[in-house]
Subunit: 369 residues, 2 copies
Amino acid sequence: MPLTYNLLQRDKNTEARLGKVKTPHGEIDTPIFMPVGTQATVKAMTAEELEEIGAQIILSNTYHLFLRPGSKLIAEAGGLHRFMHWDRPILTDSGGFQVFSLSALNEITEEGVYFRSHLDGSQKFISPEISMEVQMDLGSDIVMAFDECPPYPADYDYIAKSLERTIRWAKRCKKAMTAEDQALFGIIQGGVYEDLRKESVEALVEIGFPGYALGGLSVGEKNEEMYEVLEFTVPLIPEDKPRYLMGVGTPEDLLEGVQRGIDMFDCVMPTRIARHGAVFTSAGRITIRNAEFERDFTALDPDCDCYVCKNYSRAYIRHLIKRNEILGVRLTTYHNLYFMLKMMEEIRKAIHEDRFLEYRNDFYNKYKE
Amino acid sequence: MPLTYNLLQRDKNTEARLGKVKTPHGEIDTPIFMPVGTQATVKAMTAEELEEIGAQIILSNTYHLFLRPGSKLIAEAGGLHRFMHWDRPILTDSGGFQVFSLSALNEITEEGVYFRSHLDGSQKFISPEISMEVQMDLGSDIVMAFDECPPYPADYDYIAKSLERTIRWAKRCKKAMTAEDQALFGIIQGGVYEDLRKESVEALVEIGFPGYALGGLSVGEKNEEMYEVLEFTVPLIPEDKPRYLMGVGTPEDLLEGVQRGIDMFDCVMPTRIARHGAVFTSAGRITIRNAEFERDFTALDPDCDCYVCKNYSRAYIRHLIKRNEILGVRLTTYHNLYFMLKMMEEIRKAIHEDRFLEYRNDFYNKYKE
């Protein structure tokens, strides 16, 4: 078994839980946030810096690597870990989400998806089998099933039909994933519809996966709708398996997700906003480009003990960001990822000490959007 | 005295020499290459990385910092060292070179230079006194005199006239530089004309400076012309003072400069070409974007022991550079600066072991442009 999950502790008041995921490249303490390295690099960061800030696992994108540089090249390099010089666990998505969101879609058939590359318009095809082959070339520890991610909003009938196909694709993925050191997660779809989510979980559990992801969320629906979906879906997932909420989210989303029993998160947001000069602080998000920080010689977040906050001022980082200096993006990225990872570490500690709700309240009392 | 120079050893066959410069922020082994941090940042690098690759002193640009974020802001931050989190020596140029090369020049008067900012076209004025004031705000260890850097080619009469004014400006700089912990270097001008260079050195030595720079070189003249200028100018400089060749140069230029008695160099080239994916190797420069490196899983420079060459392949770095990933520029920049600093370290070792010419021949036998 390439992946095991140990449930270590349950919060008394909520669905929050503490666990440990074991993979071929090491262990992951859950709940965890996974920085995103779309093109085989977490933008602006080295592997050593990711380790320094406590990243235990990162995510990389099959769609992008499939197009460039190509998964065969990465296989020749000895796999994604070696190619990008990262020896801790990696999760790869299936390419499905990007095929549906980035590319010009041509046709969805039972066999797979025909699309045009968002880069050069060339004709491409991905199927469950091809997604598994690509992810085997990459050699990621956790592999995601190839699913259809329907647009939001979509009507019940469309979601229901799409879901049936996604379940058939999940079976094909399981059959095609023959690597013994890679663990395939199933993806629960069903939009915001309770009965469809239930149907999805039941079908996937029957197929049997070492972990389950919630897909099709954070795609345009209201936060409250997403939280509701978590509330009626997560309890259906076997408790001895990790639960991964894909593409989520903000610091608030992490708290709300953990409270509803989620173990794993990923999101490009902390690194993306960093490149535009927006940073998290314990008092809320600030935009460092703003004139108010021109002569502010305090740290990005006076409550933070990261490398950036110990050594640089808001005024300096503002200067760098406004000058388009790479170091500016490095520092905001480093800090934002540290903020997310540190927050997850504190959440784990709070669960361990039976004070998750207290932590949550303290957080919201300080953090204002 | 804020700066002292100790001549430690002279090469037997050439003008090459080994020395030590002491400044308020630490010692510098010469000959030395100084990475350039134009906007209070050596592009893409942290201070810790610069230390890791052996940078002993960096250069920053008065002109850019004068315009943005402004030297008063940096003074408020506690000076440039503190602002940019670099506690080793800093050399600042005078702003003169950029006023003449980047901005739209309005008028050169005896008092100073009227110009338009290259950023927003606003009217600006810099004089010897203003340059000194700005550099005192910055708090650099080594301060450069404000000079006119004439265009190349320029006729004898123009250079001669410009030189007279630059000498008068040098006197005003010395008077205006009142900071006790900053050392002002004079700048030798005179174009490619031997008698003018001689006149310049003599006038500056009479004024008296703790170090002398050669300006107005590497501005378009042939390499051979520059080397000739060094050959007839450097021997005129008092041997108990450091000699700095401004804005130079390539690996070859460093070798040729050291051989002719130069102690200090700076150049944006290693970092600039890195951003375009060009890297130094012991066999010569390569352009990592080229298709030939697509599946090359060896190090940038197989003879190099830097962090980048130990951990990443040409294929991966090519992928990053072609995708415009920040990490790509980080890795090529790191490697190129390491290459220059390591080369200078080897040159110092070779001088120490009385085999500078042997080192030079070995270098040229391997390194092909």
